[in-house]
């Protein structure tokens, strides 16, 4: 281990370089950091929106904001948290960790990867530009037709919303293609699919879901775009259109989206629990297949969001039973996580706290989800605060806690420094308590008949007490996030240097220094088990299922024995992404800007296509190196 400690001092420079180096980077690690930093900043933005919402609702007849502002706030809160926080935060971990975990030097298409990030960033900026244009969207993150029609939402808010989400959808599809190809084709020799780490598996399922789900929302958005800009009537009932078409298209995307948001967190927890229990993941094949089953079933249950729509008893029954089925593979996952802890030697580090917190809280969200699968019960709970409670137990308790487990787990690997355990645990407890204070009382409010998305309520309804509690809880969460940022800054400034393998973990990313060298692997690792590094450190075992001897993969040498060439940086993906954003923004400004956007996009893609992947001055490392950088 000491050899790593000496090696990594030289590698900290992998993040050196000015703005230009970050703009033109095609390194999956830097792109991962760009995603992560962007997502955490938006986490603050979406959190502030939530705090204003909570302040407004803290008492009856609240006077903090008006009706329109409130509608804008919860629309932006939902849209921000889903598309600008949870998805990019998962993307950050995918980008940074997947190549390292499968033994690859980068993703399959490094420049497409850069394009994805910049398209996402520009799209998210366009969405938030609506605040400065004075008209944020206000029809909810789900934007039900026909409230979004020109007649009932004449302002630009809906246009900002649909154009920016359309642009970010392009980023999601591009990165889904990229990571699907990366995971399927670029695994190290010997890493069969059943030896692929669970986090990578869940990422793969997530990418496939994105590939299949985003086209549905793209179609829905194109219809809406045509309705609003060109006077078609896809969703206009008075002209023969049908608003319910939007609901179907939206939820055919929207329910798989739920799994797009939660599966990465499942993956993180499936890495963290084994590491800190010092045991392999219990029933790994069952975990993989249950993940696949969740993803598959996720496409057949969208109408459980529509039990109040009036689809009829037969449709309600079909979607109800389908939704209940999802509880089975989800239950399998929970039981396997507990069985992974069972019989272990559990080390109570911050990543474990968050992973266990995720399991404990996700159980609550999962169980209320079973209630929603039953239409007679759901029609009381849907669109009430009960659902607000449910979805926050899934997305905050499930996804946010899981992703924080990942952030704390991989922080030493990414930054090369340890992060404070004391502050980390304080962060956990504050967030855990705040989260339950905020969201558990919402079950009561929903059972008491409080609808979602209302900016005010009368005092005589008896909803004040639990709303006050929820608001206090929201501020406890805010303090916990503050503790995290303090911890992160302290670690970056003065954290202890991290060794390559601080947790005694099992997977390939820990075989190299922290942070990893720019080329990742000095030698391409050979893999013949699911826990290559563990077996190297703790001795080989026999695989009882195949009766083959499993051997470990040793730690990486400090320098590559043969020359390693990396793809050269490129600014053209940024330009192409900028062209897309200009097209979107142009739709709100004028045709001339759309045409400029098209020109920029075409020019960017053209130069990108004809730029050689490796040219003079590209980074290369190793004995024959000409000293690229």
């Amino acid at each position: 281990m000491s050899s790593h400690a000496t090696a990594e001092a030289g590698h900290e420079s992998i993040y050196a370089g000015g703005l230009r180096s970050w703009l033109t980077t095609v390194d999956h690690k830097r792109i991962g950091i760009l995603y992560g930093v962007t997502a955490l900043l938006y986490f603050v933005v979406g959190g502030v929106e939530a705090l204003i919402i909570r302040l407004q609702l803290a008492s009856a007849d609240g006077m903090v904001v008006g009706a329109d502002t409130f509608n804008q706030l919860f629309t932006m809160h939902g849209t921000t948290m889903i598309f600008l926080v949870l998805m990019p935060l998962s993307a950050a971990l995918f980008n940074y960790m997947i190549p390292l975990m499968i033994g690859a030097r980068d993703v399959a298409f490094p420049r497409l990867n850069a394009f994805s990030f910049w398209t996402f960033l520009f799209g998210s900026l366009l969405l938030n530009l609506s605040f400065f244009a004075g008209h944020p969207p206000d029809a909810g993150w789900f934007g039900y037709a026909n409230l979004t029609s020109k007649q009932y939402s004449p302002g630009m808010g809906i246009d900002f919303w649909l154009l920016s989400l359309q642009i970010m959808g392009i980023a999601s599809i591009a990165s889904a293609v990229n990571f699907t190809v990366t995971i399927l084709n670029m695994r190290a020799p010997g890493m069969s699919l059943m030896r692929t780490p669970l986090f990578v598996w869940m990422a793969l399922i997530t990418q496939v879901l994105m590939l299949l789900a985003f086209p549905a929302i793209t179609v829905a958005f194109i219809f809406l775009l045509f309705d609003r800009f060109f006077g078609t009537h896809f969703y206009i009932p008075t002209a023969g259109g049908t608003p319910i078409l939007w609901q179907h298209l939206f939820w055919i995307f929207g329910h798989p989206e739920v799994y797009i948001l939660i599966l990465p967190s499942f993956g993180v927890v499936s890495e963290v629990l084994p590491t800190f229990s010092r045991k392999p993941l219990f029933g790994a094949p069952f975990m993989i297949f249950s993940g696949i089953l969740i993803g598959f079933l996720g496409f057949g249950v969208w109408s459980h969001h529509m039990f109040a729509t009036g689809l009829g008893a037969v449709a309600d029954t079909a979607f109800s039973l389908g939704s209940m089925l999802i509880a089975i593979p989800t239950g399998v996952k929970v039981f396997n996580w507990i069985a992974t802890l069972w019989g272990g030697r559990i080390r109570f580090k911050t990543p474990l706290y968050f992973a266990v917190g995720m399991v404990a809280l996700f159980i609550i969200g999962g169980l209320s989800g079973i209630m929603h699968a039953s239409p007679p019960v759901d029609i009381q709970q849907t669109d009430s605060y009960f659902v607000v409670a449910h979805l926050h137990y899934v997305f905050f308790g499930g996804t946010i806690f899981g992703l924080f487990a990942g952030i704390y787990y991989w922080w030493p690997k990414i930054t090369g420094r340890m992060i404070g355990e004391g502050l980390g645990k304080l962060h956990f407890w504050l967030m855990f308590i705040g989260m339950n204070l905020t969201f558990f009382p919402m079950h009561f409010l929903g059972m008491d008949g409080m609808p979602r998305r209302i900016y005010t309520y009368a005092a005589d309804l008896g909803w004040e007490r639990w709303n006050e509690v929820a608001t206090v809880g929201a501020f406890v969460i805010a303090v916990s996030v503050l503790v995290f940022f303090v911890n992160a800054i302290r670690s970056a400034a003065s954290g202890a240097r991290a060794v390559g393998d601080p947790w005694d973990a099992a997977t390939l990313e820990w075989t190299m220094s922290s942070p990893p060298p720019e080329y990742n692997f000095a030698v391409v690792p050979a893999v013949n088990s699911a826990r290559p590094f563990w077996l190297h450190k703790h001795g080989p075992t026999r695989d009882i299922s195949t009766h083959t001897k499993e051997e470990g993969t040793p730690a990486q040498p400090e320098t590559p024995p043969v020359r390693v060439d990396l793809p050269s940086p490129s600014g053209w993906p940024v330009l192409a992404a900028l062209g897309l954003a200009l097209m979107g923004g142009g739709a709100l400004v004028g045709l001339w800007l759309v045409l400029i956007g098209v020109a920029v996009l075409v020019f960017g893609v053209y130069r990108w296509a004809f730029q050689p992947l490796e040219r003079l001055g590209h980074p290369s490392f190793g004995p024959a190196s000409t000293g690229g950088r």
Binding site: K279, P280, L321, Q380
Partner: protein, 382 residues
Amino acid sequence: MRQRTEIQRHFLDPCAVRRVPLTRPLVTGTLPPFLAAGAFFDRLLTPLETLSRERSIFRKTLLAALPMLLAGCGTGPDWRTLRPVSDFGRLGSDVYGDLIWWTLGIFVVVELLLLYALLRYRSRRDESGAPSQVHGFTALEIAWTLVPAAILFFIAIPTVRTVFVMQGPPPGGDPMEITVIGHQWWWEFQYPELGFVTANELHVPVGRTVNLTLTSADVIHSFWVPRIGGKRDLNPGSENRLWFTPTEVGQYHGQCAELCGTSHANMRMRVFVDDSATFAEWAAAMSAPAAPDSAGAMTFLISGCAACHTIAGTPAQGKVGPNLTNVGRRTSLAASLIPNTPEHLAGWLRTPDSVKPGALMPDLNLDEQRIHDLVRFLEGLR
């Protein structure tokens, strides 16, 4: 908690609600034909159901006691969705009553297992090296696949049975037909059999099944009176149905449950479940409203109100806004947003937008004398 007025206490305090006996039994669930093919499952379930029915008395007593324990009677949350006042609502709360015990049971067992594993297997200082490397155990995996599947079976049976009852035809014969039309941001109630239209305050007689036809004049709304039962959307361009038989006299809060624009939060309603004499008196007054004072009616016309509002028995026949026939009898104004008092009505006429943001009722710039006259006229419509 703010002080409740006497009238609010009367209307909202669940303990003050008078119970009336049902005139006929509540509907009972039957399986739809294609599911009745599962008579096999029925036979299989019979002994289990008898068992669970005996338990369910205990469970439902507990369920009813739970909110009372948590909240006490009349203070804090009223647990409206758990205390239905209609057969339709009871169908939903009964399934909830089954589900909540399954989910609470699973919750306790799983969280305790998690907690036990954490405490029992925490790393101790005297231990070194790795624990036994267990990769899995197929029998266990099969067990915790089958047990949840079996539990889901018990959740699915009452669910499916109830879905078909709730969405089936209204029970019994001769339901009262009422058409509900959602508007931004108020409710229109048409009584086609009785021949009148009213707004924002729905009156129904206790014990008689009501069959609602739901639609919208603009965007999607959702009809929700938590104590009556679950929601059903009001979709523009198509019709939905919802039936219920109210079982307890009282006044119940309802409001729109689907985001419908600026004042979605202010699209409220009151449902009055009346005993038959009270309902008959109300319906008679609605069918033959007293002749309005003609000077006041003239003020109403020349102020521009008639462009949007109808008052039966006057030339005012506007259809855009709520029908104001007998508006003086209502307990609330502006979609149940403010109490129906002369002061509140005057404030509403003065600046509608400050009472209900985005309200489509324009500010007519009425002078104080005109407002005074209109208030006196409208409050006199009873």
